[in-house]
Amino acid sequence: MDTALEADRAGEERELVARAREGDRTAFGTLVTIYMRRAYYVALGLVGAHDDALDLSQDAFARAYRAHASLDPERPFYPWLYQIVRRLCFNHLRDRRTRRRRMEEATPWLADEARATARDPAREAERAELRARLETAIDELSEREREVLVLREFQGLRYKEIAELLSIPIGTVMSRLYSARRNLAEQLEDVL
C-alpha cells in the first residue's frame, strides 16, 4: 500500500516536473506548495534565523524557476532544490555583513518542547538558557557538521536519506554526526 502510494506520488511529481520544465507556472507553483515547508525549515536549521530562512528558501525557488529548463523529470525535485538552498545558505553564512547582523540581533530559532511541561519559573529559565546555549553551540559548528545534524535531528532524515541528499557515503554521514555531537557536547559540557 505504502509502496503503491509512493509510486503514485513519484509519478505525480514526475509529471509536475515535466510540466514545470516546459515553463508551466501552475505546475511549478504546485511543486513550491509541496516543498515550501521542507525548504524553509531546512534553511532555518542551516542559518538559524526566521527572516533569513524565509528569504533564502524563496530565493532558492525563484532561482529554480528561472532554471526550469534544466529540470529532469526522471530525478526527484527536492534533492535538486536542496542543492540550491544549501548553496544559498552557506554563502549567506559566509557573508561578513550577515555575521555582524546575526551577532547583533540573535532571536530564538529553536522551540523547547519540554518547556511546556516546566511549570516552575526557575526550571523554565534553566530550559531557556539551555535552548540559547544549544543554538549558540550549533552556530559554532562547521557547515558540514551543522548540515548533517540539522537533517538528522530536526528534519528526522535517516542516514540513507542524508547520504543520498548530500551524495556522500553513509559512513561519512556518521563521522560528520559524531564530530558535530562531540563539539556540541564539549560546548554544553557543564549542563550535560
Binding site: 507556472r25 507553483g29 513550491v32 506548495t33 515550501m36 515547508r37 524553509y40 525549515y41 532555518l44 536549521g45 526566521h50 524565509l54 524563496q58 530565493d59 525557488f61 525563484a62 524557476y65 528561472r66 548553496r87 552557506f90 554563502n91 559566509r94 530564538p108 530559532w109 529553536l110 522551540a111 523547547d112 518542547e113 519540554a114 539551555l130 535552548r131 544549544l134 562547521s142 557547515e143 558540514r144 538528522r152 535531528e153 530536526f154 535517516r158 542516514y159 559512513g171 561519512t172 556518521m174 563521522s175 560528520r176 554526526l177 559524531y178 564530530s179 555531537r181 562531540r182 556540541l184 557536547a185 554544553l188 549542563v191 550535560l192
Partner: protein
C-alpha cells in the same frame, strides 16, 4: 587505545551514532557492547552523547506562523517577475546611457571651441568605461557562477 579508535570515523564511534539514531542492527548492537566493554573512554562518550541526545530531542525548529504559507508562492513568483523586470530595466538603462554618452561625446568632439586636452580626456574616459563594462559583463557571464561559490564546502 590506538589513534584509529579515537578517530571520528572509527567503527566504535560510528556505531555509537547509529545507536543514538536508532539505526543499529542486532549484530551491530552486540559489536558495540563488546567495544564499549573494552574501552572505558567509549563508554564515557556513550553516556555523554545519550544526555546530549535527550537535549536535542527536546528541541525542535521553531514553527513558522501558519499564515506565512498562504503568500509563499506569490512571493516566490514576485521575485521571479522582479528579476525579469530588472533584466529589462538594466538593458534599457545601458542602451539609453550608451546612446546619451555617444551623443554627448560626438557633440563635444564637434565643438571647435573645446580645447584638445578636454577632447582627449573625454575620449579616454569613454574608452575606459567601455573596457570596464566589457570586463564586468565577461566576469558575470563566464566567471561569476564558479567564483561565487568557490568557498562553499561540498
Amino acid at each position: 587505545m590506538n589513534s584509529e579508535a579515537r578517530a571520528p570515523d572509527s567503527r566504535g564511534r560510528r556505531l555509537l551514532m547509529a545507536e543514538l539514531d536508532g539505526e543499529l542492527t542486532e549484530s551491530e548492537r552486540e559489536e558495540l557492547e563488546r567495544l564499549v566493554a573494552a574501552d572505558p573512554e567509549l563508554a564515557k562518550e556513550r553516556k555523554r552523547f545519550k544526555r546530549l541526545k535527550e537535549v536535542t530531542d527536546s528541541m525542535a525548529l521553531k514553527p513558522a506562523p501558519e499564515e506565512m504559507w498562504d503568500d509563499y508562492w506569490a512571493s516566490v513568483y514576485s521575485r521571479v517577475e522582479r528579476g525579469l523586470g530588472w533584466v529589462f530595466v538594466s538593458i534599457g538603462a545601458i542602451i539609453l546611457l550608451a546612446y546619451g554618452a555617444w551623443r554627448g561625446v560626438e557633440t563635444l568632439l564637434a565643438d571647435a571651441t573645446m580645447p584638445w586636452f578636454v577632447k582627449t580626456a573625454v575620449l579616454a574616459v569613454s574608452f575606459g568605461a567601455v573596457i570596464l563594462l566589457v570586463s564586468v559583463v565577461r566576469e558575470k557571464l563566464f566567471l561569476g557562477p564558479k567564483q561565487r561559490y568557490k568557498d562553499v564546502e561540498r
